[in-house]
Structure formats: C-alpha cells, structure tokens
C-alpha cells in the first residue's frame, strides 16, 4: 500500500471582508495541490476569494478537558459586557 497524502485544513475568506474561516479538510501531496483541490471542493459556488491551507499536523489546539479552567476567567467578568452598566434613558443612545 502506498503512502497516504497528508491531511490539510482549509480556510476560506468570503467576499464580504470577513476573516478566513475553517471550512473543512482534504488530502493533498503538497500545499500547491491542496490549494487547487480546495478551489475545486470548497469554492464551487462563489464561497470565497482567498484560500489558506495548513497541514493538519501543524495545528496546535487547546485541550477539551481544560474547557472549564481555561474559560472560567471570562465567565466571571460579566462587567466586560456593555449590558452590565445601567445608563439612564435621558442620556440617550450610548
């Protein structure tokens, strides 16, 4: 059995100025082919104007088991949200 092509993660930026977004993955022998294949697979209906490809084994990710401690700081700081503060109606839009 021959060697399997490496796995690439595909990111596409749409037409409306938003950031590149992960859309899926595919196998390709190199980056150039990964981009070509991504064009064929993930932009068949005008989904994007820019493609990034990253070999999957180059991605480092946070661990799901750390979910609690990792995100706790943001949960306990509700004053980071504008709705925390009451502004009187007379003040107008803020």
């Amino acid at each position: 059995m021959s060697k399997e092509w490496p796995l690439w993660e595909i990111f596409i930026r749409g037409q409306h100025g938003l950031s590149h977004r992960h859309v899926g993955s595919l196998h390709a022998p190199n980056a150039e082919m990964a981009i070509k294949n991504a064009r064929d697979v993930y932009t068949r209906r005008n989904e994007g104007v820019s493609i990034w490809v990253v070999e999957a084994n180059n991605i480092s990710a946070s661990s799901p088991s750390e979910k609690g401690p990792l995100y706790e700081p943001s949960e306990s700081k509700i004053y980071r949200h504008p709705t925390f503060f009451d502004i009187p109606d007379e003040v107008g839009h803020m």
């Binding site: 059995m1 021959s2 399997e4 092509w5 899926g24 993955s25 064929d40 697979v41 990710a61 661990s63």
Partner: protein, 325 residues
Amino acid sequence: MYAQMIKSEASTEDPKQLKEFQAKIDDNIKVEPRDWMPEGYRKTLIRQIGQHAHSEIVGQLPEGNWITRAPTLERKMILLAKVQDEAGHGLYLYAAAETLGVSRDDLTEQLLSGKMKYSSIFNYPTLNWADIGAVGWLVDGAAIMNQVPLQRTSYGPYSRAMIRICKEESFHQRQGYDIMMKMAQGTETQKKMAQDALNRLWYPSLMMFGPSDAESVHSTQNMAWKIKMNTNDELRQKFVDQTVPQAQYLGLTIPDENLTWNEEKGGYDYSDPDWSEFFDVLKGNGPCNVDRLEARNKAWDDGAWVRDGLMAHAEKKRAAKTAAE
C-alpha cells in the same frame, strides 16, 4: 438511506461517564473530535459516516454513465456539475469520519474489499436518459429526507458536513425534476420513458430508507445518541407524501395499486417494497453490485501511479528545500 441498517455497538464504559455523555447529547451540546465518547458511539459513527461517504462516491457511477450521452450540452454541463458535487460530498463525509480516528485509505480499502457497504440504490442501472431525471428526483429526494434532520446530529463534524451537503443537494433534486418535466411534457415516447423510469425506480427508492426499524434496538440506541433522527418508517412516509403530488403534476402514475390517501393519519397508505429483493441486493446480488465494485477498484488501481508520483515529487521538493536552508 445512504446509510442503511447501521448496527450500533455496545458500550462497556463506566456507567457514570456514559450517563454524563448522554446528558450532554440530551442538552444538544455537540460532541467534538477530541471530546470523550463511548467506543460504541465512535465505532457506530465510523460505520455510518463511512457508508454514507461510500454511497456518495459509488453514486457517481450510475450518473457518470450518462455524462457523455446527455441530450444537450447544457444538460451535460449540469450533470457534470452534479456528479462533481457528489465527489465533494464524499470528501466532506470521509473527512468527518477521519476525525474519529480511521484513515481515509482504511475506509477506501474496506469499500473496495466489500467489507463496508454503500446504499442499495446504486446497485440499480440507469438504462436511459429518463433514469437520470428519476434518480435526481427520487433518489436525491429520498436522501434529502434523511439528511435534513441529520444536520442536527450530535457529532459536530458530521453535522457540519450535513449542513454543507444539504445546501448543495436541493439543486440535485430540482435538476432531476426538471428533466422529468421535460420528458413528461414531451412526445408520447418521452412520456413513456419517464413513466418507465418511475416504475423501475419507485420501489428501490422506498428501499433506501431500510426496513421498518420501529422495534429495533440499534435504532433506539442510535436515536438516543442522535446519530439517527427519525425511524425509517417516518422518513419513508414523509417521502411518499411529498412525492405523490409531484408525480401527479407530471401526469405520471406511481406504480402502486394500493396507494390511497388516508385521511385519519394525514398521509398516504402505500405498498411496501419487496424486502427479499432488498436483502438480496445488500448481499451482493443486485443488477450492478459487481460492476460498481469493479469500477471503483479499477479507478483506485489505475490512479495509484498518480498518487505515488505526486507524493514522490512533493517529497523531493521538500528535501531540496530543506537542503537549501
């Protein structure tokens, strides 16, 4: 369906952990690749998503059969785009299965050796152009019935693949119905071809949903895990109710003498397909089982030098780049 008769694997893990896992699913929290999951859930999903992916790929064959013989250049381009979509759908699903720890080549090997199945429907031939219309209308229609609810499935990568597939799939059914409309409104001969295609593909389409599984333990487990969203009978009923008026519009007759509207249940009563034929096709005795597997094996073997050549070239380039640094 594209995945038929999926047996669920038993789970042997710690009951407390299993209970927490079930609670998460009941709360509609998606399970992601690196989250803990019972082995049974993982194995059942690999089987289901893998079979679904294989169906997309093998499903290219009956339609690809007519690309070179499409009646107009426009029809040819449309069919080409549809068959290309199916390749994409196979890819999204294989990628989802791979997140569960199985390799792409492993899945391919299991398809080619006949160890893993694909949907029974693709073992029927497409004899003439009207069949291409009927396949889009009925087969893709039946697939959509199953895939729309699966967008809410519990496994994140599977759900995301389904969302993408559903966005693209309604073009497939509409192009099929468009062909049927042209044929049904055409000459007497064309109308006969359309009726003949419906006659041959109606029961195989009903079989796609699989036999009644209301009492099945596998179905119960898979529904609790939310990797199956409805029973086979529910989906089949929905399909019949949706398709009958579409056939009436075309002026075609559903080949079922027992088809009657049942006011009480708010749906049609219809005849079951011949389930012995279904099991026979699953066993490998359908009209095209041998052809389909031969074609897939040939494509895989004939493409080996391309895969190896591109890989060797990429490795050479990589080595040269490392040496230069």
